[in-house]
Symmetry: C2
Subunit: 468 residues, 2 copies
């Protein structure tokens, strides 16, 4: 795509006024550099409107001039979908209004620039719960988590962001405003356009506001870490926990011993979660609307699991400090790898029933491809989602190892495909994985997506380098 013309840039600047844009390289710099320094992009102009109407005006000007746009939220994405390379950068961070909170509807409408943490806090103030939760929640914005269909730690019970949105307001690629801010639970009047925009990674329009589903606050919560001989036992334990609680399992997070060791070694304040050393660990969190039920359920599940030899050790958190300790161990799994040298990272999913088989087969394939490489698999195994990371063999040549990332990923992704899995469970495709995904999506899927995109954005000005 050609660079924006001076006339287009001038019209955009005039339309948004002096506070609505910048081309100052020092102000732009943090927003074109991906936060882990994996991508370093550039843009001739960063637009920073603070109303939906301004966004509509800006997009309309871009459409008229054929100028490409990269929409950006909090910039915490992990696949580079938010980084411009010559496109105009359009941030929605300054759309900060809370439009309404209506507890009787279990709903609230906020603009795209509200952070995920702020959304959780708004819900809590209304005596409600907004369940989406992920490491970057203090920075990630509602516009961003909708556009990427974000996941996180409570998907097992509450679903992905796709499941948590009642309505959407968006500026379409021609600048028209789509007002779909409904508070309805039921509406069968044609295609669900909102579902198309969710997870579209900014390729079908700019999400400017959303009506989010709220939930009741739970009355009891129990958190435990258990030790297990294998990932097979973890799957059995998950099925038992779901059955015993009627779906009251809110988190079920698997960790390998190697990841626990990295955390113990590199992260201050992390403690051994159990008295014994175990090959596998699961962090389980149960919640219930009934006071005391989560605690009672946890006791019941773990007692039975010991009797059936599904688990080999367990600790139930006795206070908030222990809950935080258990979660810290899980949340630091990724950071704890860093001092061990970089790794090939994967965000994959397979059917839950096949997680253990997948782990065995993928690890064998990786070891054959890269002898000595260390696999640190952890994640939301209750959803079939693993962060499957492969670290350089101790003492190996890190740069050479990182150079084999792409080839190594194909090894992992081919196993994922054999297990009818996904090569991007929750992070999206962005700039990182769009090409790789072409190997695994069918021609029909790709051509259908392309046809839909062309119908909605015939000039392909919205995040043109991302998706198909």
């Amino acid at each position: 795509m050609a660079s924006p013309s001076p006339a287009a840039l001038a019209e955009l600047k005039a339309a948004l006024g002096p506070s609505g844009w910048t081309d100052d390289p020092s102000e732009i710099a943090p927003w074109v550099a991906e936060w882990r320094n994996k991508w370093k992009g550039d843009t001739p102009l960063m637009l920073k409107p603070d109303t939906t109407a301004e966004i509509a005006r800006a997009v309309e000007i871009c459409a008229r001039h054929g100028v490409a746009i990269v929409p950006q939220g909090g910039g915490t994405g992990l696949v580079g979908g938010q980084v411009p390379f010559g496109e105009v950068l359009l941030t929605t961070r300054r759309l900060r209004a809370v439009r309404d909170v209506t507890p009787l509807d279990d709903a609230m409408t906020v603009e795209a620039g509200i952070t995920l943490l702020e959304a959780q806090q708004l819900a809590a103030k209304a005596d409600r719960f907004f369940p989406l939760s992920l490491a970057a929640e203090g920075t990630a914005t509602i516009g961003g988590v909708i556009s990427t269909n974000a996941g996180g730690t409570a998907v097992l019970r509450y679903g992905m962001m796709r499941d948590l949105v009642l309505g959407i307001e968006a500026v379409m690629p021609d600048g028209q405003l789509f007002n779909g801010l409904k508070r309805l639970r039921k509406d069968n009047t044609g295609y669900d356009l909102k579902q198309l925009l969710i997870g579209a990674e900014g390729t079908l329009g700019v999400v400017t506001a959303a009506t989010l589903k709220l939930f009741p606050i739970m009355r009891s919560r129990a958190t435990a870490v258990v030790g297990l001989a294998s990932a097979y036992s973890a799957i059995q334990l998950l099925a038992r926990a779901k059955a015993e609680t009627g779906g009251g399992v809110e988190a079920f997070e698997l960790m390998k011993r190697i990841g626990v060791e990295f955390a113990l070694k590199h992260i201050p304040g992390v403690r051994e979660p159990l008295d014994s050393v175990q090959p596998w660990y699961v962090l389980i969190e149960l919640t219930s609307g009934e006071p005391g039920a989560a605690e009672a359920g946890m006791e019941r599940i773990l007692t039975a699991a010991f009797e059936e030899e599904l688990i080999t050790d367990a600790a139930i958190a006795q206070n908030e400090t222990q809950v935080r300790d258990f979660w810290k161990l899980r949340e630091e799994q990724s950071a704890a790898q860093r001092p061990e040298g970089g790794g090939w990272k994967h965000d994959v999913s397979v059917p839950v029933s096949r997680i253990a088989d997948f782990l065995d087969e993928a690890t064998a394939a990786v070891e054959a491809f890269e002898p000595g490489a260390r696999v640190s698999a952890f994640g939301h195994v209750g959803d079939g989602n693993m962060h499957y990371d492969i670290l350089c063999p101790p003492g190996g040549d890190l740069q050479a190892f990182l150079g084999r990332w792409e080839a190594g990923s194909k090894v992992v992704h081919d196993v994922v495909a054999n297990y009818e899995g996904s090569i991007s469970a929750e992070h999206g495709l962005g700039r990182l994985k769009t090409d790789e995904a072409r190997r695994y999506k069918t021609p029909l899927e790709i051509s259908t997506m392309q046809a839909i995109r062309k119908a909605i954005d015939p000039q392909r000005i919205m995040n043109p380098a991302v998706l198909f």
Copy 2:
């Protein structure tokens, strides 16, 4: 659209073989007459394939010849979307295979012709629960309930059909097979094509199989009928019940006294649910994964509701017979109206918080438009969804009254629109409401849907008279 050419019909017959089609008017008759005799259609040919491959072949032939198709499931739809008027009728009823049931994934894959009741039974056999439930479940098929995004009585807790589908297999309008039969909970690799096909009323392809979400079986259940002075109290009670149970309310169904009276008068075996006569009734059903918790929660909620004067009477079902009696009262609300003469029927939704205001305002508007008309509103008020039916004044001219249905509906729908509601909450648009919906959808929504449809079905051969 022109009638199918003799060459096209001959090719279809040859492709499907003698058991795969019929043009015998007596065999076709029941499938072109809507079950309430609201529509009486016709078709030159009914295709009745029993495999996905045969459907793909048939659609490919239709596409090549420009022949229009109406796909049909169990034929229980309420808006005429399943009735052909000259199109080829393609039934998916004979796609009867259960492809797999994998309890560890809380998933099962069934073909389109499995009925909803059979799907529930398959889940139960695997010690799981499939929650979609509606009056026609013995006849409605999985293909049909997906294509219409069906709702029913458990939406409050489990969502619409849209929320219960993990994967879809469909034949696209050019005859290509879309294999999206995933068992994944997380997959962020492009647009969610499955969500586009759900609720598309057969306009974007033919759903041939689906992977459905299963849920744990609940350990306790409590059912009650309460009496209330107003619908305002019902909304408050709903909020309290959700908060007290952490979302354990599975059904919350509102009825007006007039509807209870019709049932008492016309339906054998229906009894007064309470000792006293009340202006409004709510059937509440709570479930929990914890044994005893639903019963305890119900006691707690109703005790507090009495104290706060939210409710004026209540009866908790003490045995299965009473549970069935309470549900019979609710389920017969529609049938009980029939002996009172026909009515203008509406399937509308508004935000839950505005249900009571909506009922007041709509009823005032209807009474102004049609003095003496009787409003029998009932339904899934927990989802904001009411079946808002208006019956002829006693002794009025029924035929003249029915002739004013369209004008009367506009009165109701205009109030719905003022309350940011939907004129079709769960039944879809079909032939009945597509034109009416043009009044309430924005030009942008309609043009976007048309663009998507044209991208996927450029010849508009799939259910051409339905949707935009």
